[in-house]
Amino acid sequence: MSEVRKIIHVDMDCFYAAVEMRDDPRLREVPLAVGGSSRRGVVTTANYEARRFGVHSALPVFLALQRCPHLVLVPPRFEQYRALSREIRALLRSWTPLVEPLSLDEAYLDVTDAGRPATTIATEIRQRIRHEFRLPVSAGVAPNKLLAKIASDWNKPNGQFVLPPGEVPAFVRDLPVRRLWGIGPRAEERLRAHGVHSCAQLQQWSAHELEQEFGRFGSELFLLCRGIDHRPVQPARIRKSLSNERTFPEPVASPEDLEARVADLHEELLADLHGQPELRRRVAGVFVKVKFSDFSSTSLSRSGPHGSLSRFLPLAREAFARSPLPARLLGLGFRFHPTPSPHHQLLLPLP
């Protein structure tokens, strides 16, 4: 891939909260969180007002209320978010067919061959979304997906950042390693122990040294810390799975907590699935992933086309019971058949 690409990452600003603020003027001036209705639930999205109090997604509701006692909590309306997301995607496709949705509120566009400057397109996209949907959105323009995603975050909210190819080396050198795809708090901690904070420092490591420290991810990191990312924008990606996982600041310790969290994750996962009818027909099985407080993780799966909560709960309980430790991360997901079967198996009319 020698040609210089032009990638735009479009990212809706605190999407669910923004939709609620748009639809109910009373919510516009208050700290707002969309999330679990019970006290045991967690925050799905918080608006910027709430974020000032330290309320963020995945925070348990009771903690969010401690940090911000006057926080307004509204239950999510996934049906609504999904419908909007579909319309926004359709709008994005009017610039290029090369649109790869990442989730309900994010997408990559490859506008290399659009024949117009990427910056102009990004500006148009943001204006149109603001105008037609009255929702704030940020965009990043860069030569690849990694940098476009970092760029969209640069001037959030309601902002845009363009990283021309010539400025990539300088931009990446000063970039904190935390910004790289795949570097979470733990990897950051490990790098800090080696005195590494910026990508420039990480660039001093040989590919071999990186592999020794990070295994297979090391060789990827060698490219990422130089701002190199060859992943193409794949509009019709054949999805093998769809999952929803979350790390909890307060580890999940009791079975009751577990069930409440799983129910929340399941609701979101289903919303995501229902927005994609072509996937719904291809469900091959379900899986559950649990990461414990010692970072050990386990997963369980079952085959079959059913995706109700009662399919996930026993799996989650079983996975959770595999360690006496509390869980810091829970994930639920669907696995899919490679492509929709052209034939439809008829069922016996069992009562």
Partner: protein, 376 residues
């Protein structure tokens, strides 16, 4: 406890009970076999709480007693012992000293008191059948059990004891197999239970080693007592094999409702020939297009399959048929399963149209309803 026994007898006994033990049990004791020595006999018991099994071998018992030992490890050790004569003696640690020739082991166990007892029954129904009969019946339906745990009622074989007939049923919602055994002079008992898939598998493994099998059951449990055949007696086994299992709780769906009452058309087919044709036709299919088409026209059955990945296949066989042309698509596995499972040379296929089920039948009270695939 102190006894002497033959190494191969020990191995035989352990082999019968080993399978029940889960590799990842919920309690350490469930990894163990309960050994009990008394009256010139050593008995073996294992359980996974849903399913338990007991058998016994002859032994020279010097001192009666009981201990549980890790069954897989014990079986491995016994198999490798150098001499036929094996002496076992337990102590209070608790552990067992095993001697054979120059080999000595001391294996750590768990006290016998902690072993969950196998249930015993009161108020039970009782029924006796030849083992070969029950084995044949189980095999002709067990492939149709559901493995989808969200439909746990279907995760097993339904045993239905009716006044004039004993019937087994299994279904996964896409096909349903049933087989009946007519009872001359009426049934000694009536009642129903659902036997869990794991127990079905275990029974299929154990049946056929002797004459009869006695089935006793109540609302929650069922026991199978298997007579030992000569070969098992020759390898040191005594008494009967005893298997006790929880049943699947719940009501089995009214399966009679999905068995087509009237046949549209019926053809007679050579079972093995049809099996081979379906098998060969299905060689070109892929995960994406998992179907074969059956096309019936005058005196001809054609079976074809196609996938974008590999291409086409076509098989034809002659038969007697003078009805209209009919084309039906099926999952080939659903055709091959019953064809493999029944022993009869001749099989009948009943069908109506492309959206109605196909029904395999034999003259021996067997039928298997298979739902077709709708071609998009």
């Amino acid at each position: 406890m102190k006894f002497r026994a033959n190494r191969d007898h020990l191995s035989q006994g352990l082999g019968q009970v080993l399978n029940v033990v889960s590799t990842k049990p919920t309690m350490p004791i469930l990894r163990n076999v309960l050994l009990e020595a008394s009256d010139g006999m050593l008995s073996f018991k294992t359980t996974n709480l849903d399913l338990g099994i007991r058998c016994a071998i002859q032994a020279e018992v010097e001192q009666e007693g009981a201990l549980t030992l890790p069954v897989r490890k014990l079986a491995t050790i016994v198999r490798e012992l150098p001499n036929l004569e094996v002496q076992v003696e337990t102590d209070d640690r608790p552990s067992a000293k095993i001697h054979s020739g120059g080999s000595q082991y001391q294996i750590l166990g768990i006290s016998a008191e902690e072993f969950p007892p196998l249930p015993t029954f009161a108020d039970q129904h009782e029924f006796t059948l030849p083992q070969e009969k029950l084995l044949g019946m189980l095999r002709s339906v067990s492939y149709a059990q559901s493995s989808d745990e969200s439909r746990y009622i279907l995760n097993g074989v339904y045993f239905d004891f009716r006044p004039e007939e004993f019937q087994l049923v299994a279904t996964d919602g896409r096909r349903l197999a049933t087989v009946g055994h007519e009872l001359e002079g009426g049934s000694p008992t009536t009642g129903q239970f659902i036997l869990p898939a794991k127990t079905v598998g275990e029974l299929e493994r154990l049946l056929g080693q002797g004459e009869g099998v006695r089935i006793t059951f109540n609302d929650r449990q069922v026991a199978f007592e298997l007579d030992l055949g000569d070969s098992l007696r020759d390898s040191g086994m005594v008494e009967n094999l005893y298997l006790v299992s929880k049943t699947v709780e719940g009501r089995y769906p009214d399966y009679q409702q999905v068995i087509p009452k009237e046949a549209g058309h019926r053809v007679q087919l050579e079972r093995e020939l049809l099996l081979e044709c379906v098998h060969r036709a299905a060689l070109v299919i892929s995960e994406k297009s998992n179907s074969v088409k059956m096309r019936l026209s005058e005196n001809l059955l054609e079976i074809s399959a196609r996938s974008a990945e590999f291409g086409d296949s076509h098989e034809s066989m002659a038969l007697q048929y003078d009805g209209p042309e009919v084309q039906i698509a099926f999952n080939p596995q659903f055709l091959m399963d019953p064809l493999k499972a029944v022993p009869q040379d001749e099989i009948y296929l009943e069908f109506k149209d492309e959206l109605s089920p196909g029904v395999f039948k034999t003259l021996e009270n067997f039928l298997c309803v298979v739902m077709p695939l709708r071609l998009n």
